[in-house]
Amino acid sequence: MQRKIKWFNRSHRSAFIVSLLFVMILGLGCDNQYYDERLKMQVQQLDSDLKDRWSTSGVVVLNTTPNGPADRAQLETGELISYVIAEYPVRSAGDFNSAMKQALDADNNFVLYLKDKPPLRIALRRRGDKMGLSVEGNGSVRVKQIQPGTPAANADIQVGDIVEKIVDERKIYSIGDYKETLGKLSKKQVTFRTSELIGVKIAAVNALGDLGDIRAIEPLVDLFKNSSEFSLRKESMSSLQRLVELSVLNDLFQQFQSADVNQLPADSLQPQQLESAAILGLLTVDRIENTATLKAPFGTQFRHRSEALYQKINEGQLAELAQEYIQIEVEPEQEIRRPCLAILGILKPVSAIDALITVLENPTEIPGIRFQAGLALSQIGEPAVDALIVAFEKGDTSTKDIVASALGGIGGAKARDRLIDALEGSTESAIQLTLVDAIAKIGDAPSIQALERQLQQYQQDDDSGVRIFLDEVFRSLEKKSM
């Protein structure tokens, strides 16, 4: 025994240390990248927690060697390979059996392609379970028998169906998986399924909206028009809305920019813009000290960019885009029509009046959106009054209701007189409350007189809704005048 130990000590100690070192070096050498000699490309392991955070696993393409197989197939740097897909054409019963065996080797599911039928995804509950399908034939392979109570019996398969191929999608979790799967499968060709990280794109879209940089506009418009992903389109339009909101604050930011300061007296700035900028978190207002201070870092940086953004937004392209996509026939998603309406409300293009009236009048449109169209028209203001009055004349009750509100928001003699006519004509009893509210909002002398006449008319009628509402209106008017 002792001799054995001595033997180990003397002759094998150095060999043992050398092999230990070799194993260690081997371990250190295995980093998180791998060059695929056959496809001529370098792949890298993904961060391991991507699987939990984004349900994505696989490897990322770091680079492809020019004119190598991967490059020729236009696999791009940065694509995430999540699946390796193996296709097994079935031309005989033997093909079918060996394909099944291979496909079920790593996981318990595969996709079965039958002639003239959509692909069937078949999953076995446990490894070793029977699929319950037998086939026959050569050249053209047909289903011979289906065992009751098996996955095959539950799927849409009939005896006599022609089997074309079996496709196995193997999920890749690591570089090790990648090497192993590619080694086992595919001799003549390799098919990868790549994953797009929508979350990253959405975050980028949102960030571009916040940054207020002119370079973001075209790519966001492109993405909005061309993406098939609803969430991306929605976020792109919201980001464009944000850019529009930022652009209209240009006057305010130019005051800071021309004085080349980050702080100005609050009372030297236009109150409405000041409030919007404070709501958007771009500056802080101190009423006691009478200061408006741009918030670092964004507010202080944005003053250098605001003019360019303003110019770009006012080229008219965005207003046109928004005008097109407020129509339900063009854009079925209400969550996109809404920001489009908001954009028109901010940019106030006179050219959008007819399109907005169409939305407002559309009985199949959601009431909230019709109301938002009315709001956008009232933001456009005076130029929209004639079109609104026409819509009022011919509209049904719900249209009249929205239009009355919009006219109240705009004000002016023309709008006011039409509203008073409607109130006193007593043909519009269904929208009486809206009319009273709209006239009160205008609030000039003829409006108040008209409301007083209404109050007299309802003097005896204590319980009527109009009377209660009128009392309320006068109470709040009194409060204001105090």
Binding site: Q45, L46, E79, T191, Q301
Partner: protein
């Protein structure tokens, strides 16, 4: 001779107790009681106690702890004496008088208080200790706290270390970076947070290494996802010089932290990020790619 000394010490002790603690004891009694406005009345007693014995550590500490501006008319002298800095000063004086006891009390007890003013006064006191007193002892207490098994202590220690680091990053950042190797995930988490509070460029390489460890081959080389996420947040707080590092994360298509990095960059508003963000928008959609092999 020995007996005389003992007797003298005893006399001094009795005299000391008698004079020093009359108001102090009364104040402490009040705090324990359920009397109306007990804290306000106790504060008056602590002030009297200090009038009698100006170096009473306990009176200083309790005055710093309880003296709230709510007790006084705004802008009066008393109101000003109850400011956070003044309260911090009293807590600091307590530390100076009896360092061992009050330093530990500040770190492991005072900071745990629910009252934000008390926490801020303790922060002020500890900053003074760092500047004017036994810095080494303070740092060792804070390191003990950040390694503690109690979440409150770890959290409080990160907060204090972060603030101390703002004034002296040269000393604090290496301490925090060393803590990034601690075996307890929560300790590393708080060290990362503290580096964000410090906001010093010196921390960038250490944070970047943590972030990159996500794709390491071996599990034990990978930092926990939540620590890495916080590291990105901390880079965002450092801002300026950390922007290239954040851009690198956005450009690393295999990183799990791209969204976090994008969010951090959006807050910073740096226009350098526009191009990488536009590149991210161009990435391929999900698709099947067939590669023929010769």
């Amino acid at each position: 001779m020995k007996k005389i000394w003992l007797a003298l010490a005893l006399i001094l002790f009795i005299v000391g107790c008698g004079t020093q603690n009359e108001n102090l004891a009364k104040g402490k009694e009040l705090i324990k009681s359920d009397k109306r406005r007990k804290e306000e009345r106790a504060v008056r007693e602590f002030k009297l106690a200090l009038g009698q014995q100006v170096d009473s550590a306990e009176a200083h500490y309790l005055l710093g702890f309880y003296n709230s501006q709510e007790f006084y008319e705004p802008n009066t002298a008393e109101w000003q004496e109850a400011s956070i800095t003044e309260r911090g000063k009293h807590m600091f004086l307590a530390c100076q008088a009896e360092q061992r006891k009050y330093l530990e009390r500040l770190v492991f007890e005072t900071l745990r208080d629910d009252d934000l003013d008390v926490q801020n006064a303790a922060l002020d006191a500890l900053k003074r200790v760092y500047k004017q007193d036994d810095r080494k002892r303070l740092l060792s207490q804070l390191q003990k706290a950040v390694k503690s098994s109690d979440n409150r202590d770890r959290h409080n220690a990160h907060w204090i270390l972060g603030h101390l680091g703002r004034e002296d990053p040269g000393t604090i950042v290496p301490i925090l970076v060393k803590l990034l190797e601690h075996r307890r995930t929560e300790t590393r988490l708080n060290a990362v947070k503290a580096l964000g509070v410090v906001g010093s460029e010196q921390a960038i390489p250490a944070l970047a290494a943590l972030i990159e460890s996500g794709s390491a081959k071996w599990k034990w080389d990978r930092e926990e996802p939540e620590v890495r996420q916080l590291a990105v947040e901390s880079l965002g707080k450092i801002g300026g010089a950390a922007v290239p590092e954040l851009v690198k994360i956005v450009e690393n298509k295999g990183s799990s932290l791209r969204v976090d990095a994008i969010r951090a960059l959006a807050v910073l508003g740096d226009e350098k990020v526009v191009v990488p963000l536009l590149e991210a928008l161009k990435e391929q959609s999900s698709r099947d790619v067939v590669i023929p092999v010769n």
